[in-house]
Amino acid sequence: MNGVHDMGGMQCMGPIHHEANEPVFHSVWEARVYAINRALFAWHKWNLDAWRYDIEQLPPPDYLRMSYYEKWLAALENRVVKYGIVTKEELASGKPTPGSARATPVFTVAMARVVQPRITAPSNDPSVVPLFQVGERVRARNINPLGHTRLPRYARGKTGKIVLDHGVFLFPDTNSRFLGEKRQHVYSVQFAARELWGEDASPKDSVYLDMWDDYLEHTGS
């Protein structure tokens, strides 16, 4: 989706505001929104790619206006209804439907004490064959899918070089819409800054993007 979230290379977004001694959360509600988001993952009703896609689907003016955790909150309100764990009426009233069954929370205090990164798949699956090799020149495909993708606009159609094979990962474009995991290799691809941005860029500089097999094509050279 060519949404506003895909903002690499956009200009005039203003200065970067650096806050000294920044707290982890700026207010109690931010912390609660963060924790609720993580805790609800334990129900496995959605996956990380779908979760990101929900945020990307906020109306563009809202996306740009809202603070980071306001986006998380707005997407969360949408998500709990979309996946059917809360009804619209419950969200509006703030009360469970009378007589509805009460669940038992899946995410526990013990789980909350462990710093556990989200692992989506084993990356060393030998049955998934890489389509490209380290050192190979590749072109990022020019695709403009309406759904979720992790191929930023600024790299599409550009030529780079594969510098690392990271192993096998789930394909976000399909996984985000529950259309299959489509496991494939992900590579670190180096793009010269001048290839991406033209002659005004430094000849020394590069941008490295992590790219799935399906984002790449052979250059034919």
Binding site: G8, G9, M13, I16, G94, P96, A103, A112, R113, F169
Partner: protein, 241 residues
Amino acid sequence: MADDNTSMDRRGFLKHAATGAVAATIPSSMHSQDHDHDHDHQVVPSDPALRTKALESLLVEKGLVDQAALDALIDTFEHKVGPRNGAKVVARAWTDPNYKARLLSDAASAIAEIGLGKSAAGDHTLVLENTPKIHNLVVCTLCSCYPWTVLGLPPVWYKSTAYRSRAVIDPRGVLREFGLQLDEDVEVRVWDSTAELRYFVLPERPAGSENLSESELAELVTRDAMVGVAKVLMPAGGAKA
């Protein structure tokens, strides 16, 4: 398309929600400020604190989340995870060449050695070494991907539109904004975290730090240096006693 319907639905139910208990508690001043232009407005309860409270209480009552687990999770992120962990990793790498070699080749195992737990880094953490000739900078242009297991949750500036948009097209300008002027002959490598790999930077050890202990070195290492927007500096006035 179904996705469009979802967002339209949202407007509908939030308009509905605005007539409920949450909206009733919102001061009228918060409604008025947004209504001086003419495009399609959502009537959204605008106070995120009230909306969050209402949603959490609903989820707790439905048994979907456990309030104590939320408290514990927040405590973990406010007190156990954070850039001090990454700083320990960096200081160890500066003082132990074998550790540094392991960190650069297998970050997950090397980070676990520091005592952060086997799972702390995940399999997909990569460490990028800054040198006098190569400067690495980490960004996520698409959202907010960040090596949080080692550095804690990202600061607001890292998640801002300004940083996300500009880091890839004008990294040297971004670095200047952070007070770091790089020579033209330094190679800048920007890492856009588009997949599940998480990058953090092993900064250069500052000159004049030869006599500092590992724990004193760790004190010097900042989060910004591990994202690549700053160098690690000796404190003004020279080495600490």
